[in-house]
């Protein structure tokens, strides 16, 4: 009964989204105020009904309704209740419904918070969001129905949730990631609405900025959580794999980052217009491309859902309509738009142009690395794979000039900047960076010219420069305390996000350079020494979990001079229904290093294979991501974005 209601409400939502996609858009061309006014209630209604459908699916999972195919294949009665709920988005069908629900939520949010927008823009933006809703609800309803029943022959027990997904990370990683992916639909809709209207003044950029920041914040958090989850769940201490699906989330992130910066130029200086619009289209297009890559089975990845060419064809057609259509509109409208603003070579405009160039080059690298194997094979040249070394090397070279520019950028003024006033503060930053980098390296490791030193130098350059810049800016208000109260929230946000990037760079460089690992055979009582820590295996015993068995190991860690550090508990779980073995690594995390132990197979003679890692500064990677998204949050709360628009309101087209 409840699943049928879910199906029904989803069908209602489909009807509402169709209306939303047609009525206000038509109204915007016929200057029909009533047709435009209907957009908001339709958007809210669409959200309410998709939410009800999503709740119905959650209900089916919670109550072990194995007559629903999706529940039977992705859950089981012995699963703990919280994983039953998260299993709702563990499958292709369920995650698609969540995607739809989140898209409807963004649409409703735009409807709620667009009071400051002219009615015409409101109607167009919501109408475009409605059309995107139509596509995804149709995909969910017709191509991957999550409510499909297997009556009358239904299984009495479910197939269980993939053990990889039985983790805390699964509870929040996909929702956050989807919030990010789908959030770019809002920037996309703003850009399309601007293209239709043919007006590219700075107001549209101002409207689009907070939404872009919000989507980017969620995407950053989602990617960061995914990385942290892989680190602790896959059992070999990796935090980024350059897997096609990770790349699929990384590309919209890179373009989204470029978009945030480019929007600033368009808003403040009224230039880079065509470029910004293209980025807004690109960020969402890459989200869609990612969804296609994950769900169509064209690439091999650990994340893929079951492949089905029919679904792939549907998504590809959808992609062609949305991306192809928007790029066609772009090409036909944008060529007549010209930017008038003038700026010198050394100006903030050029700095941000540089930011865009590097971020887009990085996107191109990821796109080529991800799709080249596919293209290569389809051209009949055979299978190849592009892996970590390619990406690592490319990002190594891209990151150096990017970080140098990032340290300099915030100091440079719009239009024109004289080099002389910057020489003193920046050379100070350079000197202190050198001291800080060498000092840190001398204190924690040994001083050698390597990747770690480079990472520390770049990190210190970016971080110190951001700090000094905001300090100087605060003082310009007269006194420091006055400045702290008066400085715009978006400036704090920017500084925090830049420091986050610095922290991330340091984390990556230190972890890559100084991680140590050992694979050892250990009997109970054996000890192994790694990077100044001594791990002692104290006990191994049988596990008895709700839906898994396996073994657990207990270890004590001391420093080599005998000081007790911590106790570690690592598990190797065997999930009964899916017959899968999962490692639950034991991690002792500190800001300066992680101790990481994973339990392997039992070896002959009452011994076990144990893998021990010491990973310096690995936490900084995720801390950096956290700071970046926090920066976005603060910038998003800037009062400026909530002022009613000063532009003349166009009530009638």
């Amino acid at each position: 009964m409840i699943p049928e209601l879910g199906q029904l409400t989803l069908t209602f939502a489909f009807a509402l989204s169709l209306l939303l996609g047609v009525v206000p858009l038509v109204g915007s061309f016929t200057a029909n105020e009533r047709a435009l006014l209907v957009a908001k209630p339709l958007a809210v209604g669409n959200f309410v009904f998709t939410l009800l459908a999503f709740i119905a699916l959650c209900w089916a999972f919670y109550h072990d309704d194995f007559t629903v195919v999706n529940v039977a294949t992705n859950s089981s009665s012995i699963l703990p209740w919280y994983y039953k709920l998260t299993a709702t988005w563990g499958s292709h069908e369920g995650s698609m419904l969540m995607w739809v629900m989140i898209l409807a939520a963004w649409t409703a949010l735009v409807a709620q918070f667009s009071k400051g927008l002219p009615l015409l823009m409101q109607g167009r933006i919501l109408g475009i969001m409605g059309l995107i809703n139509v596509g995804f609800i149709a995909f969910s309803l017709f191509m991957s129905n999550p409510f499909e029943r297997s009556l009358p022959f239904y299984p009495v027990e479910g197939n269980d949730l993939n053990p990889l997904l039985q983790d805390f990370g699964m509870i929040i990683h996909p929702p956050l990631l989807y919030m990010g992916y789908v959030g770019f639909a809002v920037s996309f809709a703003f850009a399309i609405a601007a293209l239709i209207g043919g007006k590219f003044d700075s107001t549209w950029a101002r409207w689009a900025r907070p939404w872009t920041l919000a989507a980017w914040m969620f995407l950053t958090l989602g990617i960061m959580l995914g990385s942290w989850w892989a680190y602790k769940e896959l059992g070999w201490g990796g935090w980024w794999f350059w897997d096609p699906v990770e790349n699929a989330s990384f590309m919209p992130w890179l373009v989204g980052t470029a978009l945030i910066h480019s929007l600033a130029v368009t808003e403040k200086r009224g230039t880079f217009k065509s470029w910004t619009v293209l980025l807004a289209l690109g960020a969402f297009s890459l989200s869609l491309l990612g969804a296609f890559l994950v769900r169509s089975g064209v690439l091999v990845s650990v994340h893929s859902f079951a492949a089905d060419p029919e679904r792939g064809v549907f998504l590809l057609i959808f992609l062609l309509i949305v991306i192809g259509g928007s790029l066609l509109l772009y090409a036909s409208r944008m060529h007549s738009v010209r930017s008038q603003a003038r700026y010198e070579l050394f100006s903030r405009e050029v700095m941000l142009w540089g930011n865009n160039v590097f971020l887009l080059t990085a996107t191109l690298v990821v796109l080529l690395g991800t799709l080249f194997p596919l293209v290569h094979k389809e051209l009949g040249l055979g299978s190849i794979s592009i892996g970590e070394p390619f990406f690592n090397q490319m990002f190594y070279y891209l990151n150096i000039p990017f970080a140098l520019l990032l340290g300099l950028g915030p100091w440079v003024r719009w239009k024109q900047q004289k080099a002389a006033p910057l020489l003193k503060p920046l050379s100070m930053v350079a000197v202190f960076s050198l001291i800080l980098a060498l000092g840190t390296l001398a204190a924690t490791q040994s001083v050698t010219a390597n990747l770690a030193l480079l990472g520390l130098l770049l990190g210190a350059w970016v971080g110190l420069s951001a700090l000094l810049e905001i300090y100087q800016r605060l003082q310009q208000f007269g006194s420091l305390s006055k400045g702290i109260a008066k400085l715009q929230a978006s400036h704090y946000g920017m500084t925090l996000a830049h420091i986050g990037f610095a922290v991330l760079v340091v984390g990556v460089a230190m972890t890559l350079t100084y991680s140590e690992e050992r694979d050892v055979r250990m009997e109970i009582g054996d000890r192994v020494v790694l990077a100044g820590y001594e791990f002692e295996l104290q006990d191994v015993y049988k596990l008895n979990g709700p839906n898994y068995g396996g073994e657990a190991a207990e270890l004590d860690v001391r420093t080599v001079d005998g000081r007790y550090v911590t106790h570690l508990h690592a598990e190797k779980r065997e999930y009964k229904i899916q017959r899968m073995v999962m490692t639950e690594a034991a991690v002792h995390a500190r800001l300066s290093r992680d101790l990481y132990v994973s339990l392997g197979e039992a070896l002959p003679g009452n011994a076990w294979a144990i893998r021990v890692y010491v990973k310096p500064f690995v936490r900084w990677i995720w801390l950096g991501g956290l700071l970046m998204s926090l920066g976005a949050l603060i910038a998003l709360l800037d009062k400026r974005y909530r002022r009613p628009t000063t532009a003349v309101e166009v009530r009638h087209a």
Binding site: G282, L327, E378
Partner: protein, 192 residues
């Protein structure tokens, strides 16, 4: 000129979607085997049913054959025995089995016992069909390893000169045989 620039993203995207479309209809897991076009790796292995008989690449030459890597522990292999028997009886395809022995686990008291294995294989072939001219026993899995086998069942077409001509991962069913393997098999079997 300037107008044309704005069409570049659209053109690039359309080009990309062509590849995506063709990618939809091909299997990303399919790989070209490294062994194709090369002679069988050197080996000297006993016959499963008659261990006195030793097989070498030399002794297999003379006629094109289908080499099938299998084991009774593999359900898919058992499922394809019927169709392969049909191929042998109706089309006269020469099929040679390469029996893949699973590593035994002494912790569970598993030991390798040839007599039991022979009995099990015999009864399996009686109930599902026997497509094999004979079976080569790959006790240490060396030959399978050299052939680049990643699981069972896998199939190789080897020509009369002992050169590997095709490598198929997965089972043989009427569709796979007709569309993929039969043309290659017939091409090399027909060669004088």
């Amino acid at each position: 000129m300037r107008k044309g620039l704005f069409y570049i993203p659209l053109v690039l995207f359309l080009g990309l979607s062509l590849f995506l479309l063709s990618g939809l209809f091909s299997d990303p897991r399919e790989r070209d085997s490294a062994i194709i076009g090369k002679p069988l790796p050197a080996f000297s292995l006993p016959d499963l049913m008659n261990p006195q008989q030793q097989w070498t690449p030399e002794s297999l030459k003379g006629e094109t054959f289908l080499l099938n890597v299998w084991g009774i522990w593999c359900p898919t292999c058992n499922a394809e025995l019927g169709y392969m028997s049909q191929l042998r009886n109706e089309q006269g395809v020469r099929i040679i089995g390469l029996y893949y022995v699973l590593p035994e686990d002494p912790m569970f008291g598993e030991v390798f016992d040839l007599a039991t294995l022979q009995k099990d294989v015999q009864s399996r072939l009686q109930s599902f069909g026997d497509p094999y001219q004979f079976n080569i026993l790959d006790r240490n899995r060396r030959l399978s390893m050299d052939l680049g086998v990643s699981g069972a069942p896998e199939h190789f077409i080897v020509d009369a000169d002992g050169i590997v001509r095709a490598h198929h991962i997965g089972d043989i069913n009427p569709q796979v045989w007709r569309s993929k393997l039969a043309p290659i098999y017939q091409q090399w079997a027909a060669k004088p």
